[in-house]
């Protein structure tokens, strides 16, 4: 649907099932919004769209025409009525993300949103990370892909629980989908949650899922100038993992240049060079996770303590009476 990246509405599946109130989300206003669904599954979709295409252009290049049409629908209304909105377009997603973040913080769950282009080795890196964390931390995974549950199956083979979200035509995960997946996973307290986003260096940058950090993975088989080609993603990330570093001797990839480009876009970005295949650099990555996880638990305990104190004070006063 989208001319830029092909994203569109609907068709979201969590482990093969429709999330149960997807309709509430898509059908914001009953029949008015039904076009999103009306398009789907109808054979005429492509044709219909193409047919209307020229109409669309007519509107865009002849705004006077569309204005006149609007007037003819409401001939009695002549004065302008303006409504101030002042609302962020992503407000709805951000509200869901804040909800997720609150739920995760309350349970001490350290959450990372892994983003990259397709083929950077995210799933292999995740599998290796889970294996190395075995016995130390409990990890659960939310997998995002347009189609298939192959990645979730690869994760489950390591013994970690995983939920697959299929975004259908969508090019990114949003906070609403992730909230549903979190419910299904029944995450233990003080654990780790890894969200593997749809392989896409553009759209996931703008969609907060409620994670603690975005971690961007750049493999050395890609161009070292990716950070300046896709700056939004590298700006949104806290950490950049340079993956497949075992292949460096065979490539002309310039590590220093890649890091310099990343820092140009995001001066504060941290960088770890590693290889999921050989295990080089993995300790540094695991250490980074451990520090973050510990902080999350510490913050949770501080909040719990503060709440208990707040409850204890009036209780003590009541008791003293």
């Amino acid at each position: 649907m989208c001319t830029t990246c092909g994203c569109g509405a609907g068709e979201v599946k969590i482990d093969g099932n429709d999330p149960h109130h997807e309709h509430e989300h898509v059908h914001a206003d009953g029949t008015r919004h039904s076009h999103g669904h009306g398009h789907e599954g109808e054979q005429s979709h492509d044709h219909g769209h193409e047919g209307e295409h020229s109409h669309d252009h007519g509107h865009r290049y002849a705004p006077v025409h569309s204005h006149a049409a609007a007037h003819s629908h409401a001939p009695g209304v002549s004065q302008k009525r303006m409504v101030q909105i002042e609302q962020d377009i992503l407000a709805k997603n951000n509200a869901y993300a804040a909800q997720n973040r609150e739920r995760l913080a309350a349970r001490g769950i350290f959450t990372l949103n892994l983003v990259s282009s397709p083929g950077s080795g995210k799933t292999t890196l995740l599998c290796k990370t889970i294996e190395m964390l075995k016995g130390k931390s409990s990890v659960a995974v939310i997998e995002g892909d347009q189609q298939t549950s192959q990645d979730a199956e690869r994760i489950r083979a390591t013994g970690a629980p995983a939920i697959q979200i299929n975004t259908g035509k969508g090019c990114h995960l949003d906070a609403h989908m992730v909230g549903h997946a979190m419910e299904k996973l029944s995450l233990p307290e003080d654990s780790l949650l890894m969200v593997e986003n749809v392989g896409n260096l553009v759209c996931p940058a703008a969609f907060d899922l409620g994670e603690a950090h975005k971690v961007v993975i750049l493999s050395v088989t890609e161009g070292e100038d990716k950070p300046i080609k896709y700056p939004d993603m590298f700006r949104a990330a806290t950490l950049m993992l340079l993956n497949k570093c075992d292949l460096l001797p065979y490539l002309s990839f310039k590590v220093d240049a890649a890091i310099e480009f990343a820092r140009r876009v995001n001066p504060g970005i941290e960088v770890i060079q590693l290889s999921a295949t050989t295990g080089q650099g993995m300790d540094e990555w695991l250490n980074w996770i451990e520090v973050g996880a510990r902080d999350t638990v510490t913050r949770k305990l501080a909040t719990v303590d503060a709440l208990q104190r707040r409850v204890a004070e009036p209780e003590a006063k009541l008791g003293a009476r």
Partner: protein, 113 residues
């Protein structure tokens, strides 16, 4: 970037406002789009027209208010204009810059009936 999802977000904001403020037709929509927001205005217009079809905003005019980008240069300790998120400071040439303005994506105002 993902202008289709954004256009759907715009329609959602409009429909929520329609319920709250009781109007049934939207004639024009003003969007504030920052220069550094990553939104492609032409793609946004295209997607908007497609998304609002058969909705309360069918045929509505889309007006874009472009807001300029700005950033904080850590070397100069001052706010300077930026045209790209990885831009350099026009004064000292440093890339040690943090974006401070021009990332807006907001529905500002509607003309309704």
């Amino acid at each position: 970037m993902h202008e289709m999802s954004l256009a759907e977000g715009v329609l959602q904001v409009i429909e929520d406002a329609a319920r709250a403020q009781e109007f049934s037709k939207v004639k024009a929509v003003w969007l504030e789009i920052g220069q550094l927001s990553g939104v492609e205005v032409e793609a946004m217009k295209f997607c908007f027209d497609a998304v609002v079809r058969d909705s309360i905003a069918d045929g509505a005019r889309l007006e874009i208010i472009a807001t300029p980008g700005s950033g904080w240069c850590m070397q100069c300790s001052t706010t300077v204009p930026m045209s790209e998120v990885f831009g350099e400071c026009p004064d000292c040439g440093s890339h040690q810059m943090q974006v401070t303005g021009g990332t807006e994506m907001r529905v500002k105002e509607l003309e309704v009936a």
